[in-house]
Symmetry: C2
Subunit: 300 residues, 2 copies
Amino acid sequence: MTSSTRVAVIGLGAMGYGIAQSCLRAGLVTHGFDVARDRVESLRSEGGATTPPHQVASDLDAVVVVVLNATQTEDVLFGDAGIVPFLSKGAVVLACATVPPDFAREMETRCNAHGVAYLDAPISGGSVKSAAGQLSVMASGSPDAFEKAAPILAAIAETVFPLGDAAGAGSAMKAVNQLLAGVHIAVMAEAMTFGMTQGVSPETFMQVIPKCAGTSWMLENRGPHIVNGDYTPHSQVNVWPKDLGIVQDMARKTEFEAPIAAAALAQYLAAADLGLGTVDDAGVAKVYATRAGLNLPGDT
Amino acid sequence: MTSSTRVAVIGLGAMGYGIAQSCLRAGLVTHGFDVARDRVESLRSEGGATTPPHQVASDLDAVVVVVLNATQTEDVLFGDAGIVPFLSKGAVVLACATVPPDFAREMETRCNAHGVAYLDAPISGGSVKSAAGQLSVMASGSPDAFEKAAPILAAIAETVFPLGDAAGAGSAMKAVNQLLAGVHIAVMAEAMTFGMTQGVSPETFMQVIPKCAGTSWMLENRGPHIVNGDYTPHSQVNVWPKDLGIVQDMARKTEFEAPIAAAALAQYLAAADLGLGTVDDAGVAKVYATRAGLNLPGDT
């Protein structure tokens, strides 16, 4: 494939829009699709193509699927308006949502049956790195899938971790990462509110902890949202019941006990119960604040 | 105080020995004490003085207490052979162990009654940073205590966080840090062993996660111990039932619920039950491996 590579990005949310921008910047012919019409129009204004998927499907070299979960991924690929049956043999699907490894293996099999390659390609890095073409991609798939996906990966990723020659390994690693990331956000909220009960302000917490052994990537990324009282969703609370739910499902199947992940999951479910599902995931701090009767920054 | 500052370091373990070395390197007259005679002799060979504490007490400007816990701290300061009654008025105690804030406040009051200043000065950074004079110190105490401790802090710390004008605030911040650090080690072990059940090797885990959003300071520091199967204790499993126990005691007093810290504490208690109390705290991974029937690197 050359710079005439034709790619469709399906799902123009926080991550997908940045991926589409990165493809455009790399000189790829980039189609963008989303149920939200304003996202599609916005991408068009940056040079994106917006011909309906089925009209361009047979011309596409690659489809990047950046939707919310397994159900949406399956719908985009094989649902009533699924794109895979319309792709040319030799095209490749890059599936970026966080999904169970078994689901990734099933999608690989079904894509291959249509002569379409499949790269299990979950991503990490957040919306800022997505827009900068600096994502980390936890990738697994056949050598053929990797080769066909190469121009896309070059456009969107700073680091590609090649994790195996079949789908599933990428999603397994993503689940491991999400276990950690989900716990780190929730325990940051637990520690920050615990500190408040001991006279440690959120501001002081964020001045001290990032320079101590108790820091984490998520603490440094999400902590400021609480200090600023700004819960504009970069990544929603609702992500975590889904992703930590995938972790718990995988763990249960192998009779593996993950008690810390379970404790974190309970906090996100409590946040959703409080009506906070669609706020930024740092909003899990409100669960602790509500229980303890604390006022977080920005609370009235 | 000048370079003729006379300091005694009580407790020459992984952290205290490095503190004593840093004091020597800064040109301070440094006395080292420990129940382990070989540690004292080792410090003597590096230029340390080893006159028994009570013979030098009245000449000391500062005493740094780097023992395991509150009980040992109280014993060193006020026990049968306690040093505080023998110190000159105007000396300062720097108390570095992780202790409850209430205990720090009590020690401050009792030291002050002897005319001795008290700096609540828990430390973070590990043995390597200790030896390099690059610790983080979470310090609180009177302006007088800070002033008298200044030459010591300059010798041992890269960063001093001034957290308030009375003892307690330093220990409160340390408890917050320990909540995070203790959870981060245990969840690292949980995620690494979960990964193993999904075909992700510990080596691959450590290649990928440090470059993703799931990373933490503790993961990057302790993860290699598991990959190398090396549980030489840099910091022991036994630290965490103590420190997370302090967190839970503090939380209970204010009716604060810390469920993620509780889940992590349970794993360290399980490790101690398995006879792993004195191995490196990365050994908490063996709790998960034992439950799940996994062989960790180095297992026979």
